[in-house]
């Protein structure tokens, strides 16, 4: 069975997006109950890998920075990928092993295992594995999932894309990532808290709402505005997500967002949510 990531992030390769990855990792660390040292190792190594992509993968251009997180039975693996012209990877393989860049030497020293691969398109993929002695079990991801991924991808694009298996890791990661994006959109703390609540509802209800293996969330960030495109959802679930009630009379998401739209998508549907901070 193909390995399916618990969390997948795709972001433009800009320095400020490394912060988004770090927020996602802090959710991963919380979910897996990492101690401060383990969490620091994970964060430091993945930050180095992301910085490498940001600075070297696309030359002066910008491209996709992709991060996959896999929960292993005794650890966690993170893959950092680009689709660029191939970044300098001296130091990880062959006779060049002992000519590492400092970033890669740091990764080598902190991860229990480091693997490097070229993507079919010539990009670079760095897989890092870290020990988690007391890895808490996550709900397994049902199905193969990769086809759904591809189908979802065609219809869902945003500045930042997340794919989350509907389990505890999603519940830890989504609120953190969306708060960081809301902060970038100059939201007040008041409205950031609302965003967290919306993320809680989406992640908590993902299992029964999605078609396929992952909840896909595309996020577009503009000043004082966040737009979320969520899917693919089982038909009818967009509406029920939107009106998931706080106390029977008050739909949480409908109250906390400024606009909502359910649209058909292939044999499923998508939910679009707009959040603004009017202050």
């Amino acid at each position: 069975m193909a390995e399916i990531p618990n969390v997948h992030l795709s972001l433009p390769s800009r320095p400020e997006n490394v912060l988004i990855v770090r927020q996602a990792l802090s959710g991963v660390a919380t979910c897996l109950a990492l101690d401060a040292i383990e969490s620091n190792d994970l964060n430091t190594a993945v930050t180095e890998a992301c910085n490498n992509v940001v600075m070297h993968a696309y030359g002066e251009q910008e491209g996709a920075l992709e991060v996959d997180v896999y929960a292993l039975s005794d650890g966690v693996a993170v893959v950092v990928r680009d689709h660029g012209k191939g970044m300098p990877v001296a130091g990880l393989h062959g006779e060049e092993r002992h000519q590492p860049g400092i970033g890669l030497a740091v990764i080598d020293a902190l991860a229990r295992r480091v693997e490097f691969a070229r993507t079919p398109a010539g990009g670079t993929e760095l897989r890092m594995e870290f020990d988690v002695p007391n890895a808490s079990a996550l709900e397994p991801i049902a199905g193969e999932g990769l086809e759904t991924f591809a189908a979802a991808r065609a219809g869902l694009t945003g500045a930042v894309e997340l794919r989350l298996a509907p389990n505890a890791m999603a519940r830890a990661v989504l609120p953190r990532v969306l708060s960081a994006l809301a902060a970038r959109a100059y939201f007040t703390t008041d409205r950031i808290s609302d965003v967290q609540i919306v993320a809680d509802v989406l992640a908590a209800n993902a299992g029964e709402s999605i078609r396929g293996t992952h909840l896909n969330v595309g996020v577009t960030v503009a000043p004082r505005k966040l737009e979320l495109l969520i899917g693919p959802l089982l038909t009818g679930r967009g509406e029920s997500l939107m009106t998931a009630a706080a106390d029977g009379s008050a739909p949480v998401i409908e109250r906390l967002t400024d606009a909502q739209r359910v649209a058909p998508f292939e044999s499923a549907e998508t939910l679009e949510l707009h959040l603004a901070d009017h202050r």
């Binding site: 912060l19 770090r22 927020q23 802090s26 919380t30 101690d35 401060a36 040292i37 620091n40 190792d41 964060n43 430091t44 930050t47 180095e48 910085n51 600075m55 300098p88 001296a90 060049e96 002992h98 000519q99 590492p100 860049g101 400092i102 970033g103 890669l104 030497a105 740091v106 080598d108 020293a109 902190l110 609120p175 953190r176 708060s179 960081a180 902060a183 100059y186 939201f187 007040t188 703390t189 008041d190 409205r191 950031i192 808290s193 609302d194 967290q196 609540i197 809680d200 509802v201 908590a204 009630a245 706080a246 106390d247 029977g248 009379s249 008050a250 739909p251 949480v252 109250r255 202050r279």
Partner: protein, 262 residues
């Protein structure tokens, strides 16, 4: 020479040609115990050491302490490096320095100390949030908080997240209002609660809501029925906006659990 990845800004690059110079310095230090050679090597690799100290253990420990530990790692690496193997010093020094820092973290109780530091910072962010809120009449942005506290926006975001987790902090105590009058939230609950009895509720959810304390019910209704902002709720109930946020998230989580259990 193969391309190597290094951050242009981190000062970890070694000048071209430095390798052969330093080989000679290593011989002078390791074979002849030449202190001048050792000092020259320390100077040469201090940017690398500094860069590692800065990257590792981000903003959670006084930088001077980290640098001291990293420097100790550098000195060990200078002693143990075997130049005859033909590997550049940096590839040997990085794991040695990181190893020294990790050992220090383990031994010094850093793993416990750091969360405590984060907790203190979360409280500072909360207090700043309230001050700015009172001053401007609306909640601040993350950038405004970062500027006010002179910390990174990332630290503010971390604090906003962390504060949700601190059940043990005295977050739940009633807080004085801007006018200095402390508000006992219990006083405000009764009247409002009665009014909300008029709202027709689904029978199961009414039962489930009964499991929540009156204040949590009140806050839920203020936000989702009356459509007050969290800042407005905070003002009326006499707690901080962050506490409102925490209580809302926790209550909704409890409602979800109870509803699914039923």
């Amino acid at each position: 020479m193969p391309a190597v990845a290094s951050k242009p800004s981190s000062g970890t690059r070694t000048a071209p040609g430095a390798a052969s110079d330093s080989q000679e310095l290593f011989v002078r230090w390791q074979r002849d115990r030449d202190q001048h050679a050792r000092e020259a090597l320390v100077r040469q690799y201090m940017p690398l050491t500094r860069g590692l100290a800065r990257r590792y253990g981000r903003s959670s420990e006084p930088f001077e302490d980290l640098l001291q530990v990293a420097s100790l790692g550098l000195l060990k690496a200078l002693d143990r490096y075997d130049a005859d193997r033909g590997h550049p010093f940096a590839s040997f020094a990085v794991p040695t320095i990181l190893g020294e820092m990790r050992r220090y973290f383990r031994d010094s109780g850093w793993a416990i100390h750091v969360p405590r530091g984060a907790q203190e910072r979360a409280l500072k962010v909360r207090d700043a949030q309230e001050r700015l809120c009172n001053k401007h009449g609306r909640a601040p942005t993350v950038n405004q908080l970062a500027e006010f506290l002179e910390i990174d926006t990332e630290d503010v975001i971390d604090a906003l997240q962390a504060i949700q987790a601190y059940d043990t902090l005295s977050l739940d105590a009633p807080r004085p209002r801007a006018d200095g009058e402390a508000v006992a939230y219990g006083d405000t609950v009764g009247a409002d609660d009665e009014r909300y009895e008029l709202v027709e509720l689904d029978a199961t959810l009414t039962a489930v809501l009964g499991h929540l304390p009156p204040r949590e019910r009140l806050i839920l209704r203020m936000r989702f029925v009356e459509d007050l902002t969290q800042t407005e709720i905070a003002e009326r109930v006499g707690i901080s906006q962050m506490q409102v946020s925490r209580l809302l998230r926790r209550s909704l989580e409890q409602l979800r659990t109870l509803t699914h259990a039923g």
